[in-house]
Amino acid sequence: MILMFENFHPGIIFILVGFLAALCAPKERRMILACCPVLALLGMLRIAPGTDLQFKFLEDFTIHYLYVDSLSWIFAVIFCVFGLIGGIYSCHNKSPLEALCSMAYVGSSIGVVLAHDWITFLFFWELEAVTSTFLIWNDPRPTSRGAGIRYLLVHTLSGNLVLFGVIMKLVQGDILVHNLMAGPYDAAFWSILAGVCINVAAVPMHGWLVDGYSSATLTGSVFMSSYTTKVAVYSLLRIFGGAELLIGVGVLMALYGATFAVMENDMIKLLSYHIVSQVGYMVAGAGIGTSMSMNGATSHAVCDILFKSLLFMCCNAITYATGIRKINQLGGMAKRYPLVFICFVVGAFSIAGVPFFNGFVSKMVTIEAAEEAHMGIVALLLELASVGTFLSICFKMMYFIFLAPDKGMAPEQRAIESNMKIAMVMGAVLCTVIGCFPEFSLYQFLPFGPVGYVPYTVMHFSNQLIMGFVAVIPFLMFLPRMEPHTAISLDTDWFYRRPFKACVLGIAYLCFGLCRSLGHAWGVGVRQIMVVTDNPMQFLDAKPFHEKKRYSPDNYRTSIADTIMIILTVLFICIFYFRTSL
């Protein structure tokens, strides 16, 4: 069975699993979603580095649909691992469409990282956008329809920018995906960079992430938290590694996400802001461009997939059980759901970079790389974002959701499914194993040479502990005002949800009004011409066109005077003509 999947595209396996799950009855679907992703993972592990599978396309092109080097390998493996965890977490779902879309989404994400030519890259890039949109539309809330349309519009823009760049690259004869930093810095370069930056949720183009993820289904948002932005991070590392512009973008993302998360009341929106923040570390790492920073970005992407999805799984499990998404309506969840609380603590400590959890061994690599590259300000600002992570996840979420007294506003509606608990425990175990044994489980697989970073030194250890202990003091001093209240925070999506929408609607109404007026005028004109041509004699009688008369043969009889007049006119014209010609 395993041999059968040797050199078989793991992304295609995921897509086939999705189709199979969608076609089966719910009981079989549960088994397929929980077990079949293992085949893709085993298939991926059996593909040897250096493999480059290809076929001819339209005689001129060679499609390199499966290319494995050390960078694509580590991303594809972690995507398969989380595809497995996500499959287990979501296998109780009744919706066949969601099963298909979630697996196809995982498959297309793997397709992007294994693509070696621009056409395959673009194909899976677009497929990823479409399949993830359905994870939003599958949610029954009325707001999800609009959120899905906005998500699709933004990703269509991103896809079209990449398409434009890819077409230009193909015209130049540049077929393979490679690092473009050697130049030329032409329209293709900027177009692909802009497309990738939209998908990486670079500020200010990040509105789609918070808007879309918070509107997706409970299990859909778990998948979405792990793939779209990480695929874009992979693309930055592959195509734009060393672009200094990205350092500023990454630092801005890290701080912006951490600050907005402090204000947020919706659990998923808060975590979405932390995706923006954590991806900022990766973008900055890609921008610094040293082997240490690129390894830092890669390792943080791997760890982020695990701890962020774990946090999403915990929060969505609580929403699944209580139907509540707002932090200010929750409280006392640690007593009611102790397993979820333990898993959340692991996820929170991981994202904050507490020793023995995976964020500690990945986040600090990028910060240390910035220090080594003599970018002290960058390192300081990334550390500041790290303080923000402690503040909003380790303190705010953990206290108000789990440790604060129960407000009694979230009675249990249904029990958390056992498959959800298994997936959360798997995520928590992986976060802890990588945090405790980074060399064995992570560093040896990093693609840009030896990592050159020792996480467990006295300095690193104590700095993270001090950060946690000290940051809790302002939080507690400000605690009565730290509790979020029922409100939404306006973000950059406001521009296309309010003024841009008003502009589009205004233009649409103008066009509609213009078309209606023109159509009305045209209709009147045509009607009158029809009346005239229907009976020219009636027109000559100068009878009103619009007057509808009952049929009478007298209406179609002309008077004798008209006939004589016509005959005399023709006669005079003939005489005049022949006289002059003779």
């Binding site: 707001t143 600050t259 204000m263 000290v470 003091i473 507690l476 001093m477 400000f478 509790e483 306006l490």
Partner: protein, 87 residues
């Protein structure tokens, strides 16, 4: 469950405990020679204590006192006065 909002005494106990722990970790690091040859502000003794305290206040003030009044709106802000909430 712990009511730190209403119980001020408990809150101050936790604050003192956190401050004490931070100082202990700082002292142990100093004793173990962790601060040898500092090249960066955060590697100096007490550097992280100052940074985390000030940084945390900056984020709280920015988020809660500056951005919250500026950017927070009612939950139905986008739906209000809008016949078509599709886009």
């Amino acid at each position: 469950m712990i009511d730190l909002v209403g119980d001020r005494a408990k809150r101050f106990k936790v604050i003192f405990l956190a401050a004490a722990l931070a100082l202990v970790v700082c002292a142990v690091t100093f004793a173990m020679g962790g601060y040898r040859e500092p090249e960066f502000f955060l590697q100096k003794p007490g550097g992280m204590v100052v940074f985390a305290f000030v940084g945390c206040w900056i984020l709280i003030i920015l988020a809660k006192l500056v951005l919250t009044p500026l950017l927070q709106r009612d939950e139905d802000y986008y739906e209000k006065g809008c016949d078509d909430s599709d886009v």
